[in-house]
């Protein structure tokens, strides 16, 4: 009998195309997702070496980071540099014959939302993309992680990555979540517990009842931020929830192939007794709606808390916290729920799916955004946008005073015109609160869609449970 394996071990073993004596492997890549920002130099490299894309049928491109999200984008992109990048992707996709969703296709959207939506992402696959939030696809039990541009070129040319195996880490969330607590709170609470380097060198498998109870949308939110905990990838074993989501998607297997796939997918779980190098267990009932107060995703506190002081920390974190508080313009001891905001951003690969928009709309319904606050809802894909319009969510947002945008990464990283002004404070459903992330000197508080919606209505950080 073979030794018990983790889910990560199983997927890894199924994809090793070559192993050198020192353990360096060539890992075969099943799906390669490509966007306009981290790929032009890789395609240029292929051209210079006269190399083709080895598996164009396994390569999927979509512009997302740079695209404007205003309705006038049909007239073209005004910013010249952004336009050149999007045009380059367009040309590269066509020249190399890879799957492509151009900016005017209703299926266009954030690459990590489009992949699952179109059935490109399937359990047991290896998925890479020149973007750290590729971890999102781990929600399907796919080994998925971000890579740099040199590795993008390597995958385009060889359909493999040079890799050494990571260690196994288990994050278990036991029991049930309390009302008002979401997948976003789980993933932020985990980062709060491990720190942003706690997962470095590991692949995390999320498990436990609270994870099992999540929809695929929620699972994607959890895995999306594995990278914010430092982990190369996050994984959740596939189950009926996964199969139900995948079935019938345009690129999901059909007929006899579906049955064959399902048979294999059902073997994708961690065996009893398999070894984990690190384990974290949190009780679902102990997790509260959380927000970040600082400039690192590990700066997480329950909304009922107060702004900490630098002296509350140890080591290098003392200076880091001092710097964060100064940047964020916050005074220690201030209740988090008394912090006024200027802007609200609902969207991103973390929280730009239909379930996220539903959760926000439920809080917003029949209410108005607080005076002086600007709110923006940016669906993760054209199809999410269409579905939200069909369900009447867009009307709810617009009636409340939110701008209802076209799909893209938008103010999550503010490469396009959607940015904070210096000093502006934003309640955001995105994934990073780094200095300058949402605009030069902009201030970001990360939270769930419901919490962001509640903040929009009250004009300050707000406990969503008080308005549910």
């Amino acid at each position: 009998m073979t030794a018990p394996k983790t889910l990560y071990d199983k997927i890894w073993d199924a994809h090793v195309a070559h192993e050198a004596e020192d353990g360096t492997c060539l890992l075969y890549i099943d799906r390669h997702l490509v966007h306009e920002v981290t790929s032009p130099q890789a395609f240029e490299g292929l051209r210079m070496a006269n190399r083709p894309v080895r598996a164009p049928e396994k390569t999927i491109a979509v512009p997302d980071h740079n695209v404007p999200t205003t309705l006038d984008r049909v007239n073209g992109i005004t910013n010249e540099e952004s336009r050149i990048q999007v045009d380059a992707l367009d040309k590269n996709a066509r020249d190399f014959g890879i799957n492509y969703y151009p900016v005017d296709d209703i299926r266009q959207g954030i690459v990590h939302i489009v992949g699952p939506e179109q059935g490109w992402t399937l359990p047991g696959m290896t998925v890479v993309c020149g973007d750290s939030h590729t971890a999102t696809h781990g929600a399907f039990g796919a080994l998925a992680h971000g890579i740099g541009t040199s590795e993008v070129e390597h995958v385009l040319a060889t359909q493999t990555l040079i890799q050494k195996k990571s260690k196994n880490m288990k994050v278990e969330i036991t029991g049930k979540l309390r009302p008002g607590v979401t997948a976003k709170d789980i993933t932020l609470a985990v980062i709060g517990a491990t720190g942003t380097a706690g997962g470095t060198g590991y692949v995390i498998e999320y498990c436990g009842e609270a994870i099992r109870d999540l929809s695929m949308e929620g699972r994607m939110t959890v895995c999306n931020m594995a990278i914010e905990g430092g982990a190369r990838a996050g994984l959740i074993a596939p189950d009926q929830t996964t199969y139900d989501y995948v079935m019938g998607r345009p690129h999901a297997p059909k007929g006899a192939q579906w049955e064959a796939a399902l048979t294999w997918w059902k073997t994708l779980f961690t065996d009893e007794g398999a070894h984990f190098d690190k384990v974290l267990t949190l009780k679902g009932e102990d997790i509260a709606p959380v927000v970040t107060w600082g400039t690192s995703p590990e700066d997480v506190l329950p909304i009922t808390g107060t702004v900490p002081a630098p002296e509350d920390f140890e080591g290098g974190k003392v200076d880091a916290a001092r710097r964060s508080l100064e940047y964020m313009g916050l005074t220690p001891g201030t209740p988090l729920s008394e912090i006024p905001i200027d802007a609200v951003f609902i969207g991103s690969c973390t929280n730009g799916r239909i379930e996220d928009l539903r959760a926000a709309a439920e809080i917003v319904k029949g209410k108005k955004i607080a005076e002086g606050v600007r709110g923006m809802v940016v669906p993760g894909s054209g199809l999410v946008r269409a579905q939200a319009e069909e369900e009447g969510l867009s009307e709810i947002f617009e009636a409340a005073g939110f701008e209802w945008r076209l799909a893209g990464c938008s103010m999550c990283l503010a490469m396009n015109p959607d940015q904070l002004a210096p000093g502006e404070r934003c309640a955001s459903t995105s994934n990073r609160n780094f200095e300058g992330r949402q605009g030069f000197k902009g201030r970001t508080h990360l939270m769930s869609p419901g919490m962001a919606a509640a903040a929009a209505i009250s004009g300050k950080l707000t406990d969503v449970r008080e308005v549910m």
Binding site: D22, Y28, T38, A197, G230, P253, W258, E298, G316, R437
Partner: protein, 201 residues
């Protein structure tokens, strides 16, 4: 790719934890379709004010460190985005070695693809080098990849670990794709077998 064998140069201290890739190269500079020319924007929002004037307090603006070739940082250096523009900017500025207690995974890998040696050392060794670096232009440090040693300005020596394959590539300036192409038969075989066992992929 540039080789990395030995490097003797000025070390600049950046005693911050969680230096993220948004700090190293903010997103407005990711719109390029080239790899070169990003050095002038390295640490842009820390180096310059909104009018583009230099912030005199930032380490790389101080006369002693303007020609630094080694950077000493804090824990979890290079966290965040996978943007390879971060190592491109570091290299283009003239820095070929980053020393810190720990690195984020993707950044660490990206360095090796660009002729930069990232070195993870125990905190006390980094603290010592940080003190050395604070001495300004006297802080000349030598990094020898072959022998895996760092020699500080006072002659003290620190050894470091590096993956043997990555070391080999860096010492010889090898192109990963070229190396992998030598194993194309293994990839062909794997692909053919996978097409049988997982035809839906």
């Amino acid at each position: 790719m540039d080789k990395f064998t030995t490097l003797t140069g000025i070390a600049a201290p950046l005693p911050l934890i969680n230096v993220d890739t948004d700090m190293i190269i903010p997103k407005q500079f990711l719109k390029t379709i080239k790899r070169s020319g990003l050095g002038v924007n390295l640490f842009d929002e820390m180096r310059f004010d909104s009018e583009g004037n230099e912030n005199p307090d930032f380490v790389l603006n101080k006369p002693a460190y303007r020609n630094a070739e080694i950077l000493i940082g804090g824990d979890n250096f290079g966290c965040g985005s996978s943007r390879e523009h971060a190592p491109w900017a570091i290299k283009d500025f003239g820095i070929s070695c980053v020393i810190a207690p720990s690195f984020a995974d993707i950044f660490y890998n990206n360095c090796f693809k660009n002729g930069i040696l990232p070195i993870a050392l125990p905190q006390e060794d980094v603290d010592k080098l940080m003190d050395d670096a604070e001495r300004g232009s006297n802080a000349v440090v030598t990094v020898d990849l072959e022998s895996q040693t760092i020699t500080g300005p006072d002659g003290g020596s620190i050894s470091f670990e590096v993956d043997s394959f990555k070391k080999h590539c860096l010492l010889n300036g090898l192109d990963d794709i070229g190396l992998t192409m030598e194993k194309v038969a293994s990839i062909d075989t794997f692909e053919a077998q996978a097409a049988q066992s997982r035809p839906w992929v």
